[in-house]
């Protein structure tokens, strides 16, 4: 049963109508091809209307949609069998919430890592709902070190609601892990491309978000705090996430306007979860183009370019 978001209901209704008409046609009933054509026309119109007028809260639902492609699907789609997944932080354990390894994408060898969610209950528990622990960030650091050594570009895919905040994670230094991951990423002398594919959830996201080129999918979100948490603080009511989402300015357009994100990757009509193969292909194209541009820079230029990008972020008067 495909998950239907509340604002998608009109679309779902027309789709069911079309399906009913088609079944009628197939069973040798009256010729309803005109009605079908009209309904498909309506569908396109309604879809275009809805998806170009999504509220920030709608976007949050889209970004969290369970059928949205996950990191391993992007990697499989772009690197196929070339991907060799690596594991462990060589200190404590392996965190399934961040995956990564070596891959060849469009003939270019890269180090790739990112948050990994899942769709079934067991998978979600295994992946800790995409909330990374210290060992996840430390695995990412290990992969960054490998990238630096082998002179490979780094590709980081962000999709997390938040970093893990359990007792174990505090004990193993989740804060230090996130801080060190950003520190290491800032100091890389290879090209670094970051793509926010779903949820850019706060510290857990920026922990692997320091890149030369930052891209974001059209319906992804990037926020300093989950809208529910923001609502709880502002209005003592975590059910007002929709109001908070407006205040937080967490959409892709907002992120570009705030000077954080460089490029928005358009999603297929209806969202990534509707046409995953298409969106994976789009991401691949944008990634390839970005790596082409960045490969022209020297190690020092890459370092300086990345530093200046983050150095400029922030708004104040002088």
């Amino acid at each position: 049963m495909r998950t239907v978001l509340s604002f998608e209901q009109p679309i779902h209704d027309i789709e069911r109508q079309i399906e009913t008409l088609r079944n009628l046609q197939a069973e040798g009933g009256p010729d309803v091809s005109v009605q079908i054509a009209k309904a498909e026309d309506d569908l396109r119109r309604v879809q275009t209307g809805i998806y170009s007028n999504l509220t920030p809260w709608d976007k949050v639902q889209m970004a969290r949609h369970q059928d949205r492609p996950h990191t391993l699907e992007y990697i499989a789609g772009l690197a196929g069998d070339s991907f060799v997944e690596l594991h462990g932080d060589r200190r404590f354990g392996d965190d399934p919430a961040i995956v990564g390894g070596l891959a060849s994408i469009f003939g270019r060898s890269v180090i790739v890592f990112g948050h990994q969610k899942a769709r079934d209950l067991k998978g979600r528990q295994f992946r800790n709902f995409g909330s990374a622990r210290p060992e996840g960030y430390r695995k990412a650091i290990r992969l960054m070190n490998l990238a630096e050594k082998l002179r490979l570009p780094v590709v980081s895919l962000i999709d997390t609601s938040a970093a893990d905040c359990s007792v174990g994670s505090e004990a193993r230094g989740i804060s230090e892990a996130i801080a060190s991951s950003m520190y290491r990423m800032a100091g890389l002398t290879v090209p670094v491309v970051v793509i926010v594919t779903g949820e850019g959830g706060s510290g857990g996201a920026i922990g692997i978000g320091v890149g030369n080129h930052i891209m974001m999918l059209e319906h992804a979100v990037y926020s300093v705090i989950p809208p529910e948490g923001c609502a709880a603080i502002l209005w003592k009511d975590d059910s007002q996430g929709d109001r908070a989402a407006v205040a937080l300015q967490l959409t892709a357009e907002d992120s570009v306007r705030l000077g954080v994100v460089d490029e928005i990757i358009r999603e297929p009509l209806g969202g990534a979860h509707r046409e995953p193969a298409q969106v994976i292909s789009e991401v691949g194209r944008a990634l390839d183009a970005a790596l082409d541009r960045l490969s022209a820079l020297s190690p020092q230029q890459l370092l300086d370019h990345r530093y200046e990008k983050f150095r400029r972020m922030g708004v104040y008067d002088e």
Partner: protein
């Protein structure tokens, strides 16, 4: 009234007596220790001399940024960096302007941070201090920018850096993604600063949480924390997903961080300056013999 009696119950007999005394003790002369199992009344003038540490239970009262600078730097040597950064309202966030005005009026500070340079035990150092009394010391564009600029000044002057956190509020919600990015900015600034080869010291005070702990506050070469300071990634209830671990008594404190190897020392306030001075003296450029400095 109901809240008051719960408080007394929790504090036990001494708490109840303390509550009863509260009405009789002049608050302009006395400050009550907020530690619930202590609650004694401290003569303010004496408390000042004790560096605002309770003489009975050792509770470390919060210090303002100015008080902290006076504590750590040699008298009369502090020079503030006049970056003249003014906080805007980039998101037009609900209530932000009013909140800023309220904290400015309450604290006399323009923002949650003070930065500058001075001597510690005779050694020149740059210093930043975030102040919990200003919007919980939370990090926004100005706080992040101040830290980055201070690090750049320190690197250019080849001066060691002292970063003091009283940042319980983490990344400031009201500036949204811009606040979050200050985590990356300050981490990158420290990465660049470290290439200059000078010592960085972070001091974690009550509270140090969230996006600040998960960025610059955890990246010092040496990290000291005050006893009993609340130090942790998140506050409040631990996520209720699948919890097999019960938090220990000292969860999310300086002592917990120390036990788990995340900080170098838990240092009582009275020993902070001396410890810093010793670290700076040992690592000072002119003391490094035989090895070429880059």
């Amino acid at each position: 009234m109901a809240r008051r009696s719960w408080f007394s119950r929790a504090a036990g007999r001494s708490g109840r007596d303390a509550r009863a005394n509260a009405e009789r003790v002049p608050s302009d002369l006395f400050e009550q220790c907020p530690n619930r199992s202590c609650g004694i009344f401290l003569y303010r003038k004496e408390l000042e001399k004790d560096l605002k540490v309770c003489k009975k239970c050792g509770y470390h009262f919060p210090l303002t940024a100015v008080e902290r600078i006076n504590l750590l730097l040699d008298e009369g040597t502090f020079e503030a960096f006049e970056f003249n950064l003014k906080t805007g309202d980039p998101l037009g966030f609900p209530g932000y302007r009013e909140t800023l005005e309220r904290y400015r009026a309450k604290t006399g500070m323009q923002e949650a941070i003070i930065a500058g340079r001075g001597l510690v035990g005779g050694t020149n150092a740059a210093i930043c201090v975030t102040d919990f009394s200003f919007l919980a010391g939370s990090m926004n564009s100005v706080v992040g920018e101040t830290i980055a600029r201070t690090l750049e000044e320190a690197a250019a002057a080849r001066a060691p850096i002292i970063l003091v956190s009283g940042s319980g509020g983490g990344a400031r919600m009201h500036e949204g993604l811009l606040s979050l990015m200050q985590m990356a900015k300050t981490a990158a600034a420290l990465e660049r600063y470290d290439r200059a080869g000078m010592l960085s010291i972070c001091i974690l005070t009550d509270y140090t949480m969230g996006g600040v702990l998960a960025s610059w506050a955890s990246l010092g070469d040496v990290i000291l924390a005050e006893p009993g300071a609340n130090v942790g990634f998140t506050g409040g209830r631990v996520a209720a997903k699948v919890q097999t671990e019960r938090p220990p008594e000292n969860f999310r404190t300086a002592e917990f961080s120390f036990e788990h190897g995340m900080i170098d020392r838990v240092t009582p306030r009275s020993q902070l300056k001396e410890t810093i001075a010793r670290l700076l003296s040992i690592s000072a450029a002119d003391k490094v013999r035989g090895m070429a400095k880059r």
